[in-house]
Symmetry: C2
Subunit: 233 residues, 2 copies
DNA sequence: TGCCATACTTACGAGACCGTAGGTTACGGT
DNA sequence: ACCGTAACCTACGGTCTCGTAAGTATGGCA
């Protein structure tokens, strides 16, 4: 449910309510008076969901408030406005994704590194699907960095560095690192976006095939690729 | 309100019109009385531009009309509304892209086929940048096909078939064709999206590197890849 | 128990936008 | 020169949404 830790549980033992549906307790709360922090988290959850499915402009503050069982001014009290809420949602999501991906970039061998990164991204997509959808969608205002909307491209910038070093070590032109970085990220990102809807092969299998393609290329595909590192889930 | 996309060129040889670049020089026409067809084309051009840079919801009919030097009702006369205009723009763009890509899928050898497809997509991106941006952005209403917004994914479906045949011929599981199709399209699409802003390497070079990655994989990259087919531009 | 900060509400202003009703101007044929 | 038609305009209704002002309940604590 909640993404970060701070102030997740209410102090009152009272409010029973939300234990009904497993998918996010956020559902027509019975006029419960929450702590500031609690309400804040709830609004973030709801906002994330709505932004993911309707986009920024397609979501109204009133809708968010209604779904939380409160009125608009509460949202304004906490985030100062629609953009404020959106900013927090995006920021947390970016941080989460970056944590997971960069945390996976530890292995020495490039192939294993690729493997872990791909798996990490898929893992993020699976666990934080709504967040991923938001990052893939476009931002409210045109970004400073060019006209490129989707925030995923920012991730690619991170990959550039790693790839650049590797290229230099192998004697390739490091100026090409951005290109290959974009290609790799695009490969995994769009596949992930497709996989979100049709969860046909399991996560590890998808990762294995992606690595298969990225590492061996279409010319030398392995029929049944396996991940080197052994995953649990 | 005809939504179709026929009637491309005005009959009159008179007005300067949009014959030059496809991205059109449409700019603050000085209250010239145009033919229906002319005005229609102009509105389509302007609409494409605005939709590309502000998205569907971020663009107002009034803005489109103003930029064309006319008033709103003219737009409604031609397209019946905002969605009508958007529909025509998207339809034309999809058709254009599909024409170019499927037109490039003729070669026998898979690698050459890949090469041509990648080049064709980059070619489309370069020539019809605004259209590409629209296809990558999300549609006004949630599409019927899943929750996947970007229209580019429809292109991937085309690739599935070709890849499926090839897989069967090579003894791979054809059920994996969608996955690899998504990966390939994503690779080229995101790279293209990046390349739109930073046009650093030339188109042919980008294509060559993409083919390099897709065909040989990171494990066997060629230092200086070249396209097999010889391009002029 | 009474006080007071905090959580929360109703009501409304301002502006943007879509879409339409009905009237007006220019062009081309006769 | 006339007249019809196609192109185009002003003006407005209705809806939606952001954001704010001002007032009300609630729960802990002296």
């Amino acid at each position: 449910m909640a993404i970060d830790s701070s102030a997740s549980n209410g102090s009152k033992g009272k409010s029973s309510g939300s234990s009904g549906t497993p998918s996010s307790g956020t559902r027509r709360a019975r006029r419960v008076r929450m702590t500031g922090a609690e309400r804040r988290e709830q609004l973030l959850d709801i906002g994330r969901t709505l932004f993911a499915e309707r986009g920024y402009e397609g979501t109204s503050v009133e809708e968010i408030a209604a779904k939380a069982g409160v009125s608009k001014p509460v949202v304004y009290e906490h985030f100062g406005g629609k953009e404020g809420l959106y900013a927090v949602v995006v920021d947390r999501e970016m941080r989460q994704l970056l944590d997971m991906v960069t945390g996976a970039l530890t292995a020495g061998h490039p192939r294993e590194l690729l493997e872990q990164a791909a798996f990490a991204l898929l893992d993020y997509i699976e666990t934080f699907t709504d967040g991923f959808r938001i990052l893939v969608r476009d931002s409210p205002v045109a970004q400073s960095t060019g006209t490129f909307a989707s925030l995923i491209s920012d991730i690619a910038t991170q990959v550039e560095d790693i790839l650049g070093l590797e290229f230099k070590a192998r004697g390739f032109d490091p100026k090409l690192a951005p290109l290959y970085a974009q290609a790799l990220v695009g490969m995994v990102a769009l596949t992930g976006q497709w996989w979100v809807d049709a969860r046909k092969p399991k996560k590890a299998e998808v990762a294995a095939h992606l690595v298969n393609l990225a590492w061996h290329g279409l010319g030398n595909l392995e029929p049944k690729p396996r991940l080197i590192g052994h995953r649990k889930n």
